[in-house]
């Protein structure tokens, strides 16, 4: 992965820089009009600002020299009118500039989210939520400040820097040269310190991600933490990151604290030179006293943009560092997506599954999770996958929905490799109930439909009924509209699983993948659900991974996995007759069962 957020990456790569720049430019261009109008308003503000002293001068001259020849009311009125204009444009440039920056942030956030939706599970396996979050919040904010205030100040500074030196030259060329001499090292300072700021800010943001992750994990795992009375341990873990973040911040501020005042010192040096050199030139009559004063005033005016440079550099470096972090996510390829070899030919999914010598290894794992698997599941068949913990049952199902990519042409649905199916069509055709239920903090209904269109309430009810959950849901205060807690914290384990089953049923899939989805359900409910499923999915291909052998007895075929390999394959009776692994398992269950009968 080009930019895994899992590792605390503290330097910006060229690719990130490039993607980041393109991203910013694209979004700025989208708001080009606002930036244009904002700049225009800004110029008008500056013009009005400059003309106000002139009106003042006019008033004084009128009173002193002309004895009130011009009615003072007019002058006062002019002043007020100009102020009103100033106020209007000031309002406008703020609205345009800051509005545009919010729009940029909004657009980038949407783009980031859309990309996150495309990133494969293998990215999320190693990603830290807190870090991703901090990219979408803090880093976006830094980019926003850069694209509003940073840009604004940058423009302002450039304008001043372009206008003032020529004015100086018009007074005295040689004095200008002397005065600007101390400014020669400025670009170098800005460059060097700027790079340091960039690097340190990156570290600050990375450490912010760590901090967020710590808080995220603390709140997410609070039940376990409290259960083991280990709050102090996890608070300590947090404290370390809290302090680390502070220290990184202080390291950044150190540079910032040097940068800003050092610009002022350079200006001070220039002023001192003009005092001595200019003063002596005035003494020698090379320039007039007025020139000397005017020169000083111009230098003074240069003071503001010089100070602003520090600001701008800071905003710029932070902005680009953050932009690179955002770009880091965007530059991570969405591996599982439709591509050139996707076959868009329309086809009704029959549900014929074929596995051809499939070997699959998770990235970073020493041993393959699946090895040389070969299977064929005819349409409408029910196949059970059993085997010990970690045998690869879930992996097989995940490959079928293409959460991970199997090697080409090893996993086929209706004769077409799953990698060549349009991804959305493939997944729509499959009803997948993952082993671990994930529910959203949303209504029950929304959790069932997950935005699926054209699903009426009745359909939702029916699905819930088949999953044996409808009665319990109707007992809740708001029925289908009850909002459940994050990850379904306020439902029982079995209720959560049944909700996930309803979610798959409502999609009326051609292939149903049930990954141990009845593990938290009692026997009575289990039987009822299986009954309901049998009706709902009469002609659909079903693959179920499970640890309960009673459930699989009637399956058309049973696949026994061990260490990623198929060790046995056949119908219940065949496998029993073989007297192998499955028969052993079954005997154990039978033994248990006999025990139960007592």
């Amino acid at each position: 992965m080009s930019a895994s957020p899992a590792e605390t990456q503290a330097s910006t790569t060229a690719a990130e820089r490039r993607v980041g720049r393109a991203l910013l430019l694209r979004h700025m261009r989208r708001n080009g009009r606002a930036f244009l109008l904002g700049s225009l308003s800004l110029i008008l503000v500056n013009l009005a600002d400059v003309s106000l002293p002139l009106v003042l001068k006019l008033a004084i001259d009128d009173v002193v020299l002309l004895g009130g020849w011009l009615p003072l009311v007019w002058i006062a009125g002019a002043y007020m009118g100009l102020s009103a204009l100033l106020a209007t444009y000031r309002y406008l440039w703020r609205r345009y500039f800051f509005g545009a920056s919010h729009r940029i942030a909004n657009g980038m956030r949407a783009e980031l989210f859309a990309h996150l939706e495309r990133l494969p599970p293998r990215f999320y396996d190693h990603a830290r939520t807190g870090d991703l979050m901090s990219r979408a919040t803090n880093d976006l904010e830094a980019v926003r400040w850069f694209s509003s205030l940073g840009l604004l100040l940058g423009l302002d500074t450039c304008m001043y820097l372009l206008l003032i030196p020529p004015a100086m030259v018009s007074l005295s060329g040689s004095l200008t040269a002397w005065a600007l001499l101390p400014l020669v090292p400025m670009p170098w300072i800005v460059y060097r310190l700027g790079r340091v700021i960039h690097a340190r800010y990156r570290r600050v943001q990375a450490s912010f991600g760590e901090l967020s992750s710590a808080v995220e994990e603390f709140c997410g795992g609070i039940r376990v933490i409290k259960g083991f009375a280990q709050e102090p341990h996890f608070l300590e873990r947090f404290r370390e990151r809290n302090l680390a973040y502070r220290d990184e911040n202080m390291r950044l501020q150190l540079v910032h604290g040097v940068l800003q005042p050092s610009m002022s010192v350079l200006m001070g040096l220039a002023t001192a030179i003009v005092f001595v050199k200019g003063g002596h030139m005035a003494l020698a009559g090379a320039i007039s006293v007025g020139d000397f004063v005017a020169f000083q005033v111009l230098l003074l005016k240069l003071g503001w943009p010089m100070r602003a440079i520090g600001f701008v550099v800071n905003l710029y470096q932070r902005g680009t560092a953050s932009l690179a972090r955002i770009a880091g996510v965007l530059a991570t390829p969405a591996e599982i997506a439709d591509g050139a070899d996707t076959d868009h030919a329309p086809a009704r999914v029959e549900g014929h599954i074929e596995v051809r010598d499939l070997t699959f290894r998770y990235p970073g794992a020493d041993t393959p999770a699946l090895e040389h698997i070969a299977l064929e599941i005819p349409p409408g068949a029910t196949v059970a996958v059993v085997g010990p913990v970690g045998a690869g049952k879930s992996t097989l199902l995940e490959l079928l929905v293409r959460l991970y990519d199997p090697p080409p042409e090893t996993l086929l649905l209706d004769g077409r490799c799953v990698r060549r199916w349009p991804i959305a069509r493939l997944r729509r055709a499959i009803g997948y109930v993952p082993q671990e239920t994930f529910l959203f903090a949303d209504t029950v209904e929304a959790n069932v439909t997950l935005g699926l269109e054209g699903v009426g309430r009745e359909t939702v009810r029916e699905a819930l009924a088949r999953a044996q959950l409808l009665d319990e849901i109707e007992q809740l205060p708001d029925g289908l509209d009850t909002v459940i807690g994050e990850r379904g914290v306020d439902l029982s384990g079995g209720q959560r699983q049944r909700l996930a089953i309803a979610r798959a049923i409502v999609r009326r899939p051609a292939v149903l993948l049930l990954d141990d989805c009845l593990s938290a359900v009692d026997a009575e409910t289990e039987a009822a659900i299986l009954e309901g499923l049998r009706e709902a999915i009469a002609d659909c291909t079903a693959v179920l991974a499970t640890h309960r052998l009673q459930v699989v007895r009637n399956a058309d075929a049973i696949v026994v996995l061990e260490h990623g390999r198929v060790v046995e394959h056949g119908r219940h009776e065949q496998l029993l007759a073989r007297g192998g692994v499955y028969a052993g398992m079954w005997r154990r269950q039978q033994l248990e069962h006999e025990l139960e009968i007592g």
Binding site: S83, G130, S134, A229, G279, G485
Partner: protein, 611 residues
């Protein structure tokens, strides 16, 4: 789509009163108190800096009058030297000021974050159930950040601005009383404008914060559930929902920009008005020879100086409001009542532990759930089960092994929550070793009870860290022993770095059964006097479970334990079985005894044997 709204949003709207700001400010100021000296030094540096910078025009005057006009070449050298010296001094001062203020902001930030986390650690589970994790993260990170920003950059500018205002007012009064009063005449208008706009600006900023928190909560949640979103091909609707919130936030932000810009420009316009009036009226007085023109110039200059800092404060208002809105939410978390607390004078558990548990007529109802945004008609008139647990009584003798069975949703896990005092009972009492759990320190209680929860949670960190959970007394050997007991040792060894293999958040690279085994090993390693297994073997194959069971029997001999299971075989060896139905204890007894009774257990058992 109806979504759970920010549960605190109603409170937000209620506390829109002005007193509230003052109170927040006062509370924030409290965080400055330990750093009084530092604040003083920073203020001094700011003052000196202003003086050092203010001296330059005076030196310039000297250079012109004495140096050039007075033809004193050496003085020019001296003056040049002083300018440079002053600037160097200013450099030191500016650096000191910046550094000190950042230090201040950062330390307050660290303190606030620590305080927040301490509070979260003390909060009861019901609190977390109502708060999306993403929102809490926003509180601890971004909201506190906004407050720190106020301390490190906002405060000093405001102090400086207030100083400038005071000076301007002083000079105005000294120069000409009537003109001064005229200048101040606009002030009430500005105050009024501030008053009118302030409420709106605050509302706008609150809306921004609230919507941002909502947006972030959704983002965090979706990141967590991305697999499901993708597997069910729900990317588009989920994106739409996100976009909706994203746009909601944008609108709030644009509203805030609008109000802020409006405020800044109205101050500009009013300043113009004031100066215009001054020009007209003062000019007439100069013409009437009642006033020197120099005074008028000075008054106008100072009038502008008076309003400039006011406008500056207005500009800083953004920062302020962000901080205030942030502080409000942070304090909201800090002030949230803790539902389950330690008693003022906790009792000590007897040593050595006996492992006795007693449920004495326990009833319990969960706190109400969040309500959807849109009103609802249906469901309300239906008969509802209000109590999750109703009048349950049983006793677990020291060393006894108890099994609990019942339909899904019967209230089995709830019983465990009550035992570990994650919630407080509504009626009745839960006793451990004869003491009501409400009279015990929570952490001491929980150290006595090792629970393997139904929802497994694996932390990022190594496998070993996950077994130890920070308990210093569990060394590598003990952790390994626990892992062996649950049969996790072989595959842990097979991981790239064995017990030191780092696991990602939530153990994403393990199979579900592996996670469950790990969490089992975690509980065993802690060697608790009371062991509670809530569906601890649900995702484990029968083979592994059988081995596991033998190991547990060995390990828990003489220890009280409660085992909850749907697979009845798991309960074959317990001493007594409790059957829970819709929150009530309906049957109780030994395996054979219950079978003979032909009640609910018998039905469950028969179904279990079907096939």
């Amino acid at each position: 789509m109806a979504r759970r709204d920010d549960t605190t949003s109603h409170d937000d709207d209620r506390i829109g009163q002005a007193v509230f700001d003052a109170e927040i400010a006062r509370r924030l100021a409290r965080y400055l108190r330990p750093h009084r000296r530092l604040v003083l030094v920073a203020a001094l540096a700011t003052l000196l800096l202003a003086c050092a910078q203010g001296l330059s025009p005076y030196l310039l005057g000297l250079a012109v009058d004495r140096g050039i006009v007075g033809r004193d070449g050496t003085l020019l050298w001296w003056l040049g030297g002083s300018v440079l010296g002053l600037e160097l001094l200013a450099f030191g001062l500016a650096f000191a000021q910046l550094w000190l203020l950042q230090w201040l902001g950062q330390h307050i930030m660290v303190a606030l974050r620590a305080e927040l986390m301490d509070k979260l650690a003390a909060q009861s589970l019901s609190f977390f159930q109502r708060q999306p994790v993403g929102r809490l993260v926003t509180r601890v990170t971004n909201d506190v950040g906004a407050i720190a920003e106020l301390f490190s950059t906002g405060l000093v500018t405001v102090v400086g601005d207030l100083l400038a205002i005071a000076i301007a007012v002083g000079f105005l009064l000294w120069l000409d009383l009537r003109l001064a009063l005229l200048t101040f005449a606009v002030l009430p208008v500005i105050v009024a404008a501030t008053w009118i706009l302030k409420g709106r600006i605050r509302t706008a900023f609150r809306a921004v914060r609230r919507r941002l928190a909502r947006l972030n909560a959704l983002l965090a949640e979706t990141i967590g559930g991305m697999r499901v979103v993708q597997a069910l091909s729900a990317e588009l609707p989920v994106f739409d929902r996100f976009a909706e919130r994203n746009d909601e936030h944008l609108h709030a932000a644009l509203g805030a920009v609008h109000h802020n810009a409006l405020y800044a420009s109205s101050v500009t316009a009013l300043t113009g008005l004031a100066v215009g009036v001054l020009l007209g009226y003062g000019g007439e007085r100069v013409l009437a020879a009642e006033l020197q023109v120099g005074v008028l110039v000075a008054v106008v200059t100072y009038a502008q100086r008076l309003y400039l800092p006011i406008r500056d404060i207005a500009e800083k208002y953004t920062l302020f409001q962000s901080a205030m809105a942030g502080a409000e939410r942070v304090f909201g978390v800090l002030d949230a009542p803790i539902e389950v607390r330690d008693p003022p004078t906790p009792r000590a558990l007897p040593e050595p532990p006996r492992g006795e548990i007693e449920f004495d007529h326990v009833s319990f109802r969960y706190p109400p759930r969040g309500r959807p945004e849109r009103g609802t008609e249906q469901g309300s008139e239906r008969a509802r089960r209000v109590y999750a647990i109703e009048d349950v009584s049983f006793r677990v003798a020291p060393g006894e092994r108890i099994g609990i069975v019942g339909h899904t949703g019967a209230g089995k896990s709830t019983l465990i929550h009550l035992l570990a005092r994650s919630y407080d009972v509504t009626a009745g009492a839960v006793r451990v070793d004869g003491i009501d759990v409400r009279e015990l320190p929570q952490r001491a209680l929980r150290r006595r009870i090792g629970v393997v929860y139904q929802d497994v949670f694996i932390f990022s960190g190594t496998v070993l860290d996950n077994i130890r959970m920070g308990t210093a007394s569990i060394d590598r050997a003990a952790a390994e022993r626990a892992a062996r007991a649950v049969g996790a040792h072989p595959w842990i060894e097979a991981l790239p770095q064995g017990y030191d293999t780092p696991l990602p958040e939530r153990g994403a690279t393990l199979s579900v059964g592996q996670k469950q085994l790990l969490s089992f090993a975690r509980a065993l390693a802690h060697d608790p006097p009371i062991l509670v297994l809530d569906e601890a073997t649900a995702s484990i194959d029968p083979e592994t479970e059988a081995a596991l069971q033998r190991a547990i029997e060995r390990l828990t001999a003489g220890r009280s334990s409660i085992v909850i299971a749907h697979r009845l075989a798991t309960l074959r060896h317990v001493d007594r079985i409790l059957v829970l139905h819709e929150g009530r204890l309906v049957e109780e007894g030994g395996w054979d005894e219950l079978l003979e009774r032909r009640g609910r257990f018998y039905t469950l058992h028969r179904l279990h044997g079907r096939g």
